[in-house]
Amino acid sequence: MIKTNPTQICPLPITDYEQIMLAHGGGGKLTQRMIEQLFFPAFNNEYLGQEHDGAVIPVREGRLAVTTDSFVVNPIIFPGGNIGDLAINGTVNDLACCGAVPMYLTASFILEEGFSMADLKRIVDTMSIAARKAGVKIVTGDTKVVEKGKGDGIYINTSGIGIVPDGIDISPMNAVPGDVVIVSGLIGQHGITVLSTRDSLGFETEIKSDTAPLNGMISDLLAAVPEVHVLRDPTRGGVSATLNEIARKAQVTIEIDEALLPVGKQVSAACDLLGLDPLCVANEGIVLVFVPESQSEKAIEVLRNNIWGRNAAVVGRVSAKGHGTVTLKTLYGGCRIVDVISGEQLPRIC
């Protein structure tokens, strides 16, 4: 919708749109205006302020961690957050799981013609707040606009750079027999929140996405327990996909105990209803930690002292060298495989 003044007769170019126009991605005045009025004030920092083709940032000694991630979530706004929170926290958490201190992020937006400018502002503001909370700076970015019908409102890509302090060596290859597996919070919260918000399912819950920046908690953990072997955030594919990936990389067998898994009642009930396994549901605010058993109490203590780690629990252990399998001891003493889902989890019929 265009804001017009009926008394206005001079056909001046209109610049104040309530929706994204193709011209917002055209590189002309509208693009410039959007960058100056929306992105610069929200992401304000000295590197972005250079207004260069890229950001020139000082290099410190040490090792760099680099990651990139694209966000295409539907719906874009959900209980507990929006695509903007995910775009910042997801990349921050990936860097933190490399043992790095996240420093700088880039942000690229692919917008669909007609996307609400108010929603874009809300998302950008959320990103600004999330970046501040995580202590990172958005130093460069890009905006493209695609024709109506050729996108899904908004896609965001963020890339990030972090510094890995000396003495920190985090890798899935480091999992060894004798490690315990810790989950830092309730599992399945994000995936069930997004599913429940989709029109097609239409059931109601009070669950909120767990999206959160975990770098502060992970930094505290590494300071107190430097022997941490593996850190991973179990996002898409859930805990099961991540554990299987670690087991395969390190060629170990991982055993988890169903009785110890932190699953909220609502997630458990929603999974029962939909025929989903909470272990396969996506998370955005928890981390899997592998530490030697002797360090597990200390690790749990540090995690639980953090707002995002209050439900941290030991859920299993690396039992032996092996062929990369993950097994689960059921509540009744039985044993079953923890599998990786094949494609998308599909709700069952009955």
């Binding site: 819950t205 898409r236 009642k265 039985g334 990786v340 709700p347 019929i349």
Partner: protein
């Protein structure tokens, strides 16, 4: 949904007590078939078979509606989804079940209009909102899901929604049980009947079946305690020789079923012969939309033809009748995986092969390297 209503039925102490009781009463070998795919998965997921005495062998029955849906109906669904102005709606389970050439997910990728919904009423609403589209709901299921289909058709009629129809593949449990029992090679000693089916139909048909074939039937739920209690009642009957029907799911199932659901079913559907994938055509084992509501039958609206089934390599028929176990199929874990299913039992969340693959495959082939699982999942 403030509390998990099932939690009392997952109490490990109760489960242990029931397991001990079954061991105590079992003196000889018994083959017990759980009819329902949901039960098959629950048995595997909770590791219930590990808690049973070795004399009790569980056979996994044909109670997964996705698994028994004929290939020809899936082919028709795929074909309809590719028609201009048609939107094919269905449950998530049906999306990956292979037809002769394609499944619905592939059809969608090729430009077919396929929409996953959680209720046929959502498809009806979609039809109302999109009057220029012909919305077809691919309706599969047993008596459990029949009432909601009946209700949807009655709603469509009441709201005068004309661009909606149903492609039915609807089956009934007791005729399939009868077919299994009448097989000269039958080895089934007792049944666990599907609790949610009986919640709709009641238990009368099962009583007749039990009397006629002298087979004990326990109407059973889906939680660990439910399943073990059903097995306990079935074994008790077998050990004592007093054949009959028990209700091990009385918190949900009444003897007469759900009268209002049954009324809706009778209003809209007639009994009919029905093809079951892997088992062939079974007499009076399905439901078709009756004459009064025939305008909602996609088969008639689009003049669909049912092709002769093309034989496939999947051993579903033998597996679903208990003649072989999934791991005895030469394709299991060798050519047939959830990522590359050769038959429906490997696809559906209730399929027996999928249950064995997901939860138990290590028990049967420890040397197999499951490299297909090694597909790296992109990180978020």
């Amino acid at each position: 949904m403030k509390q998990d209503i099932n939690s009392p039925f997952r109490n490990p102490k109760d489960v242990e007590e029931l397991s001990k009781a079954i061991r105590y009463i079992t003196t000889q070998e018994w083959n017990i078939m759980e009819i329902c795919g949901g039960q098959t998965h629950a048995l595997a997921k909770y590791g219930i078979e590990d808690m049973l005495p070795s004399e009790i062998r569980l056979i996994h029955g044909p109670g997964c509606p996705v698994c028994v849906t004929p290939v020809s109906v899936i082919d028709n669904a795929v074909m309809l989804s590719m028609q201009p102005d048609v939107c094919l709606c269905t449950f998530g389970d049906m999306m990956r079940v292979p037809g002769t050439c394609d499944d619905l997910l592939s059809a969608k990728a090729q430009g077919g209009r396929v929409k996953m919904v959680y209720s046929p009423l959502d498809a009806l609403r979609f039809a109302e909102e999109n009057p220029r589209l012909q919305v077809v709901f691919f309706a599969i299921g047993f008596e459990t899901t029949l009432p909601i289909y009946a209700l949807t058709i009655l709603e469509a009629c009441r709201r005068k929604i004309k661009n909606f129809s149903i492609l039915p593949a609807l089956v009934s449990v007791p005729p399939a049980m009868e077919a299994l029992l009448s097989d000269p090679e039958n080895i089934i000693d007792g049944f666990l009947a599907a609790g949610h089916v009986c919640a709709v139909t009641g238990m009368q048909e099962y009583r007749l079946l039990s009397n006629q074939w002298q087979v004990p039937i326990a109407v059973t739920g889906f939680e660990p305690s439910d399943l073990l209690y059903g097995i306990f009642l079935c074994v008790s009957r077998l050990e004592s020789g007093k054949i009959g029907v028990d209700n091990a799911y009385s918190r949900i199932v009444g003897f007469s079923g759900n009268m209002s659901a049954l009324r809706d079913i009778t209003q809209v559907f007639d009994r009919a012969d029905q093809e079951w994938r892997g088992l062939g055509v079974l007499r009076n084992s399905g439901f078709k939309i009756n004459e009064k509501y025939k305008q909602y039958d996609a088969v008639k609206r689009f003049q669909l033809k049912q092709k002769q089934p093309v034989p496939d390599r999947c051993e579903a028929g033998k597996i679903l009748s208990g003649k072989i176990m999934p791991y005895e199929c030469p394709l299991f874990c060798k050519e047939c995986f959830p990522e590359h299913p050769l038959g429906a039992p490997m696809v559906s969340s209730e399929g027996v092969c999928s249950a064995y693959y997901r939860y138990k495959r290590n028990n049967y082939d420890k040397n197999q390297s499951y490299t297909n699982l090694s597909v790296a999942h992109n990180r978020l």
